[in-house]
Subunit: 219 residues, 2 copies
């Protein structure tokens, strides 16, 4: 039996690799992206291109406005931190953390899974080459999975639980790049920068750019 | 120390009572409502009136569109079931269940709590006089609380966990009505109907209307 999956797709390297992985695993993959008031929309264009290039079974973009809540450099008028090297990236939860973002994203994915009859959620979180976000850790994912199975239609079918798959969670960026290449992900179409120029060029100095560059170099 | 709380406020009897309870308990209550594509907006007007009447410290209305996901009589072109008596209300999960709605609502409440520094969430769920929704049960609320503490800034402060308060969870509708009266909730301003007329009159026959009428009668 083919399992149906909802795949969170930001258009970055990690989520694109996650989608390609799901398709290779034989899942029927329905991509879900969010227009949530992020500063830049290049990643949504990248998500559309990637969903098409990889052959997702469907692709939805949901709109809502996290700017009404604020509290992050990605949704507020707060400067995105820049660094010259990876070593300069700070400890603790960075200002680019968007409060409860993955919780909100996974909640929408759960709703969609209930409606289309999917029993798998795929999310490209990674706890190694960037562990500053509390909502990228395996403990959080496991807790969300338990909660989702209690608070949705899945409570009626304990024999067919919803599972959250995180194929990248323990990989380094270099390993993700190698996996992406082996799966034929068009890496040039993906977009990771937190703070691109007005013409859409990556800044090269935010955490996302530095980690992507390190991954590509090491791979 | 006064605790700050985010209170989910639909404008119905239960959430309004919950807000009044929070204020009486000495919490600094910030109300949060959602314009999520529900069929009727009377409840949002009721929420605004209630927040003002009860003296919430703030009131925000967040917009998003659950119609893009669908799957419920409250957000889709599916007829809201009508009954003549409480006894006709069916078993199992009703069609008025909105997939993952409370999960999504609580996720936004968590995000707002992180931003405004609240450590309490209040939600007027009730598992007794209406247990058909999986996301109104204590097991779900406990699981959400665990997940929220793992996937947010609260992970940094285990000595100051986020707590979800559900003062109504084990009450009958009659008990809720009595509590509402004792707290001075202007019950006439609250609005519970799932399917009002175009002029905004409650239908009197949906599950919400029948349960409200039963509660008022018994109290």
């Amino acid at each position: 039996m083919t399992h149906r999956a909802v795949v969170l797709l930001s258009g970055g390297l990690d989520s694109s690799t996650c989608l390609a992985w799901g398709i290779r695993e034989g899942l029927e993959c329905h991509a879900l992206s969010f227009d949530y008031g992020q500063r830049q929309l290049q990643e949504l264009n990248a998500a559309r291109a990637i969903a098409k290039a990889l052959g997702a079974s469907s692709h939805r973009v949901l709109r809502f406005d996290l700017r009404a809540i604020g509290g992050s450099a990605l949704t507020d008028d707060i400067e995105v931190p820049k660094h010259r090297t990876i070593g300069e990236i700070g400890q603790g939860i960075p200002i680019t953390y968007v409060p409860a973002r993955n919780t909100i994203f996974l909640s929408y994915a759960l709703a969609l899974a209930e409606v289309i009859g999917a029993d798998r959620l795929l999310i490209g979180v990674n706890a190694l080459d960037y562990s500053g976000y509390p909502d990228c850790r395996p403990e959080f994912i496991a807790a969300f999975e338990s909660m989702a199975n209690l608070g949705s239609r899945f409570v009626q079918t304990p024999e067919a639980r919803l599972q959250i798959l995180t194929p990248l969670i323990a990989m380094t960026k270099a390993e993700i790049v190698r996996l992406a290449r082996s799966l034929g992900v068009p890496i040039e179409l993906t977009f990771s920068c937190y703070d691109p120029s007005e013409s859409g060029e990556p800044c090269g100095q935010c955490d996302a750019c530095l980690l992507r560059a390190k991954g590509l170099e090491e791979a």
